[in-house]
């Protein structure tokens, strides 16, 4: 067998990972390392992986870069600190739906607002998987969780719209089924100077799929295949075809604004501070 070039980015002694059979996090983690691999100048020495707490955030432990496994919801503040201390570093944040939109909700929108030059990848499995399947702010309406045995009545966040409204300069979504597309979205996000946000839809067969009777991992991925609509097609789709199940994927928003580290550098110069 030809050795796969991305394997060197994994801590081989830590594999197999602890995620459940069929968990989509493994697919998303591989997509991230493949995106980094495609990026010229991004090496294991100048790329930092920061993660919070949750199933998704275990990824930093398997990736052979300088990694930081931080407090719950606080991955973006830690990453901001790294970027401010050394703007030369490439900082990637891996977070989950609970980590990013519940416990770290404020950190998330303020990271977007300041336009810190980070690449944030949210693994959206629609549930708190690690702690036993509680409803997260991204659990769809009517879906069951241990804290919503009759179905969730809390309207879910659309993290992409949230990021765009808060001021992120790159917003995209993809799924664990659309692997090559996911790699491309992450890669483009890394290219973008400023706060890049990519939502990776992943399946959680254990805590979410089982409770909602969606079934096996492959069925959950087939659901993504059947319901994800590319952004271009979504825009042309008549409103009556946009059922609750359907969702758009692709690049939603891209802009250019001054990044936080360059703004801070400007202030430092005004104040006469030599870094």
């Amino acid at each position: 067998m030809e050795t796969r070039s991305y394997e060197k980015y994994f801590r081989q002694n830590r594999l197999p990972h602890l995620w459940c059979p069929g968990c989509g996090n493994g697919i998303a983690m591989k997509a991230i390392v493949q995106a980094i691999e495609h990026k010229e100048g991004w090496t294991q020495d100048n790329t930092i992986i920061v993660s919070g707490i949750g199933c998704s955030s275990r990824a930093s432990g398997y990736m052979d870069f300088d990694t930081l496994h931080t407090a719950h919801g606080r991955a973006i503040p830690f990453a901001t600190g790294i970027k401010m201390a050394n703007p030369e570093l490439n900082v990637v944040v891996i977070t989950g739906d609970g980590d990013c939109t519940a416990i770290g909700g404020n950190h998330f929108i303020h990271g977007c607002r300041r336009n810190v030059d980070l690449t944030v990848i949210l693994f959206n499995n629609n549930i708190y998987g690690m702690t036993g399947g509680q409803a997260s702010p991204m659990t769809p309406l009517g879906k069951k969780a241990t804290t919503a045995p009759y179905g969730s009545i809390d309207r879910p966040f659309d993290a992409c719209k949230l990021a765009e409204a808060a001021g992120a300069t790159y917003v995209a979504r993809s799924t664990a089924f659309h692997v090559q597309h996911l790699v491309k979205m992450i890669e483009d996000g890394m290219d973008c100077k400023g706060f890049s946000f990519i939502e990776a839809m992943v399946q959680c067969p254990t805590a979410y799929g089982r409770r909602n009777k969606i079934g096996e991992p492959a069925k959950m991925m087939a659901w993504m295949r059947d319901n994800a609509v590319m952004k271009n097609a979504w825009d042309k789709l008549p409103d009556d075809k946009k059922t609750a199940e359907k969702f758009p994927i692709g690049l939603f928003y891209k802009a250019e604004t001054e990044t936080y580290d360059s703004a801070y550098h400007r202030i430092q110069e005004m104040a006469g501070v030599t870094a």
Partner: protein
């Protein structure tokens, strides 16, 4: 045969994603809950199984023409 399989069975958790997305139904899960290449002669080396394996347990290489 068009392809060569490499299985890292210590990584396989038997989730069945590769089995489900194989267009030629080459793969199966055995009684021990691990992937097994049941019909290697049908494989077209499309790589769908490797692409979506969440545990990096299955690898497919296309055999070069000269090796046939």
């Amino acid at each position: 045969m068009k392809s060569e399989f490499t299985l890292k069975l210590e990584r396989c958790k038997g989730c069945g994603i590769c089995v489900a997305f194989c267009p030629k139904k080459v793969l199966e899960i055995d009684t021990l809950g691990k992937v097994v290449v049941a019909r290697p002669e049908d494989c077209i080396a499309c790589g769908q199984c490797e692409l979506r394996c969440p545990d990096y347990a299955i690898f497919v290489d296309k055999l070069k023409e000269a090796a046939k």
